[in-house]
């Protein structure tokens, strides 16, 4: 019999990847927003994501809702453990979500809503990165509940992963703007991308090394022989992708930088998978311990197998409708 728990771990993993791929760049545009000039630059950047941001963010609900449904114990432990960053993320997403509409409705206070858009995007990304770091460094569990305090998540390591995700999303945002815009804004996006690439590489290196120092578990997982022959491919591939990314920037390719930046994210996620698998709360709870019963898994699997391809199809269609370069008039 196939192990449905593994399949569900794969589906939740897919939702997380889909979220990073799709919402990463639109949070990234929010992070860069303050650097863009008031007026047509900001309007253009906003127009490039206005028709798709809502669908992108739905993957976050899928990740959270899916975790509740497929791994309820993990959901019940992780969310109280990360209480403050979670609440901050939700409030930040409230602020940035409404800013899409409100800045058009209220030109007199547009500067304020732009500020809310930037702040909301930065805080949401930071909180997501902190969540990742807090999970990696381990959270206190007793019985079926979180057993630590409400500031346990705050460490230099979690701040590092938080900043890392902000940098990463900003890079995706810059690459998206390279793809979707032209002229001065595109030039500016190229400059952001050149800077962001280096920053992201530095952060990936720092997080990787710091992770090895966290607990014996990760150290052995990555560096024990002969596994190291396989795991070493991840950093090597990261270097290769970085070279290709900078080559694409130098040749002023428009789509490739985004693809290579996503590849960098993909490799980081593979690395995370190597570190965490098969736990859902590293070092504490395995996916099998947290899994919902078989009947829940089967019922949802039917829905996921039917609906996820349909969702991907109409999402792709929506992106196709809004293909090509945008300008400040764009859709509005």
């Amino acid at each position: 019999m196939m192990d449905l728990t593994v399949i569900w771990a794969g589906i939740i993993g897919f939702a997380v990847v889909a979220y990073v791929v799709m919402d990463g760049f639109d949070l990234g545009i929010g992070i860069l927003f303050g650097q863009l000039e008031v007026g047509s630059e900001r309007d253009t950047a906003m127009n490039s994501i206005a028709p798709v941001w809502d669908g992108n963010e739905t993957w976050l609900i899928m990740g959270g809702g899916g975790l509740l449904a497929a791994f309820p114990l993990a959901y019940a432990i992780i969310l109280p453990a990360l209480y403050a960053p979670m609440i901050a993320m939700l409030l930040a997403l409230v602020l940035r979500g409404v800013a899409f509409e409100f800045r058009w409705r209220d030109p007199r206070h547009r500067a304020g809503w732009d500020c809310a858009f930037t702040a909301g995007s930065v805080v949401a990304a930071l909180a997501q990165g902190i969540t990742l770091g807090a999970l990696l460094q381990g959270i206190a569990v007793s019985g079926r509940a979180y057993a630590g305090g409400w500031w346990d998540w705050l460490t230099p390591f979690s701040l590092l992963t938080g900043v890392g995700l902000v940098v990463g999303y900003a890079l995706l945002g810059a690459c998206w703007l390279i793809w979707k815009t032209h002229g001065e804004l595109q030039d500016r996006a190229f400059a952001f991308a050149r800077l962001g690439g280096f920053a992201l590489l530095a952060v990936i290196a720092a997080v990787s090394l710091a992770t090895l120092g966290l607990e014996g578990h990760y150290y052995r997982r990555w560096l024990a022989f002969p596994g190291v022959l396989a795991t070493a491919q991840v950093p090597l591939a990261t270097l290769v992708v970085t070279v290709l990314f900078y080559r694409a920037l130098r040749l002023r390719r428009e789509v490739q930088p985004f693809a290579w930046a996503l590849a960098l994210f993909g490799l980081s996620i593979v690395g995370l998978g190597i570190s965490i698998w098969p736990d859902v709360i590293p070092g504490r709870v395995t996916i099998w311990e947290a899994a919902a019963p078989y009947r829940s898994q089967v019922f949802m699997l039917v829905g996921a197998v039917v609906m996820v391809p349909v969702i991907l199809a109409y999402t792709a269609w929506a992106y196709w409708v809004f293909r090509g370069k945008v300008d400040s008039q764009g859709y509005h």
Binding site: T58, I61, G66, A69, P72, L79, P80, L91, T315, H332
Partner: protein, 464 residues
């Protein structure tokens, strides 16, 4: 306040704000689909203009609904983690289906609906509007299935680790005893809420200009809804109440203010002051035996009271009692306005009766108030349980420190009041503008070559 009280206050605050928004978007999305269908069929520009008028409002309300809904989907975990752990295997999949079948559908087609008219053509654009409308209603289906399971749980088993787990049939979990009634009553409420909001806006503009074609059309459409659907809602509500009497009798005792059992026919308390500590209804104005007549269809039928329920298992009677009266009162007022509009329509005075229009303006927010009141009845009335009769609210909360919950509650209050206060203000500003013959696009810029012309278009550049 205890951690539990703070967590409950936070949930009540965030869910109340959130609930108002889908109550509006469920109805409004369907209204927009109807307007676009009418436009495609008749080619009359007034429908295209009304579509553009209301879609701007829809965009603002929908954005607020999405972000406040995201908060809800994580709040189960942040503040109610024990509940999530225990109940996740049963209601988690229902919420997963909501995401898979409803949220993605709404969000995926929203972009095309709001921004895509010039890019995809009329047929596909109409399809996008319909997809959004279907998505909003499907969302109601799944979330109310989850809520109904919590109210009248069936189809579950209890595992060795204390979790509720699904039994052999998911149909028994989805279609619980209260679900069909709750779904009908809530979705009709959403349509009525929208109808009264649309009617109020139409009436407001008719008071200024009786010849505005957009205002005339929207007022007429809204009053048809009020006249036809408000009576249906009263019937649906009555059936829902009888269903509640069967499955959650304690909730009905609180709604009725029945502290004492009445073996020979229970009176209907019109008003009164529930004093839960003394376990009596003070200053009651009652109609003898009427409650038994309504609930049991027999004036002498016995009805048990809260004296049969330990105090620890009673819901807060005052809230339930008063919220119920607000809801029912508004329901009858809505039906009354619908009737009045029918009479005015038959006399050909629908668009000329200033008193009717003023009343409709006053009743514009009635649906929102009624929806909140009804939600308070059903949610407060099932206390002190999250899973009725099986899991207490006090045993559902996360192991959190009081300051954490207190600070986050304060943050929610500040952010919500600022953000949604601004949003409501923008919506009111949009509503305050009369629908114009050449209604603008989403950014307020006028759109060329549209409006009341032989070949109107929903957006500029699309007109034949």
């Amino acid at each position: 306040m205890s951690v539990l009280d703070l967590a409950r206050a936070q949930f009540a605050f965030t869910v109340s704000f959130h609930f108002l928004l889908p109550a509006f978007t469920i109805g409004l999305a369907s209204y927009l689909a109807v307007l676009e269908a009418l436009w495609l069929r008749t080619g009359r520009g007034v429908y295209a203009n009304l579509y553009r008028y209301w879609v701007k409002i829809f965009a603002v309300v929908f954005a607020m609904g999405v972000v406040s809904g995201l908060v809800m989907s994580y709040q189960f975990g942040t503040n109610w983690s024990v509940f999530s752990d225990k109940v996740g295997p049963v209601i988690g999949p229902l919420m997963a289906y909501e995401v898979l079948t409803a949220f993605f559908l709404e969000a995926g087609f929203l972009g095309v609906m709001l921004f895509g008219i010039g890019k995809v053509g009329r047929g596909l654009h109409f399809l996008a509007t319909c997809a959004v409308a279907v998505g909003t209603t499907l969302s109601a289906f799944w979330i109310l299935a989850a809520n109904s399971w919590m109210q009248t749980p069936t189809g579950y088993e209890i595992a060795a680790n204390g979790q509720f787990t699904p039994g052999p049939s998911w149909l028994a979990i989805i279609f619980t005893a209260s679900f069909p009634y709750r779904l009908a009553h809530t979705v009709i409420a959403a349509f009525l809420t929208t109808a009264f909001a649309v009617g109020g806006v139409g009436a407001w503009h008719l008071l200024r200009d009786r010849d505005n074609p957009g205002a005339r059309t929207m007022f007429s459409m809204a009053m048809w809804m009020a006249a036809l659907v408000a009576p249906v809602q009263i019937v649906a509500g009555d059936l829902h109440g009888l269903n509640t009497l069967e499955h959650q009798p304690v909730k009905v005792m609180a709604m009725e203010g029945h502290f004492q059992s009445h073996p020979h026919g229970a009176p209907l308390a019109l008003f009164g002051w529930p004093d839960q500590q003394a376990q009596q209804l003070r200053y009651a104005v009652e109609i003898p035996k009427a409650s038994s007549l309504i609930l049991r269809h027999d004036p002498d039928a016995p009805l048990a009271g809260l004296d049969t329920v330990p105090l620890a298992d009673q819901p807060p009677v005052g809230i339930v009692f008063w919220a119920f009266r607000v809801m029912v009162g508004l329901g009858f007022a809505m039906a009354g306005l619908g009737l009045w509009s029918l009479v005015a329509r038959m006399r050909g005075r629908l668009h000329d009766s200033a008193s009717l229009h003023r009343t409709a303006v006053a009743m514009g927010p009635a649906g929102f108030v009624a929806v909140l009141a009804g939600w308070a009845v059903t949610e407060t009335g099932r206390q002190p349980f999250t899973v009725y009769g099986l899991l207490r609210t006090a045993d559902s909360a996360s192991p959190l420190a009081a300051p954490a919950v207190g600070v986050s509650l304060a943050a929610f209050v500040v952010v919500y009041l600022a953000v949604f206060g601004a949003g409501i203000w923008y919506v009111l500003q949009l509503m305050a503008k009369p629908p114009e013959a050449h209604e603008g696009g989403l950014d307020g810029t006028p759109i060329r070559s549209a409006g009341i012309t032989p070949a109107p278009a929903l957006a500029g550049g699309d007109a034949a």
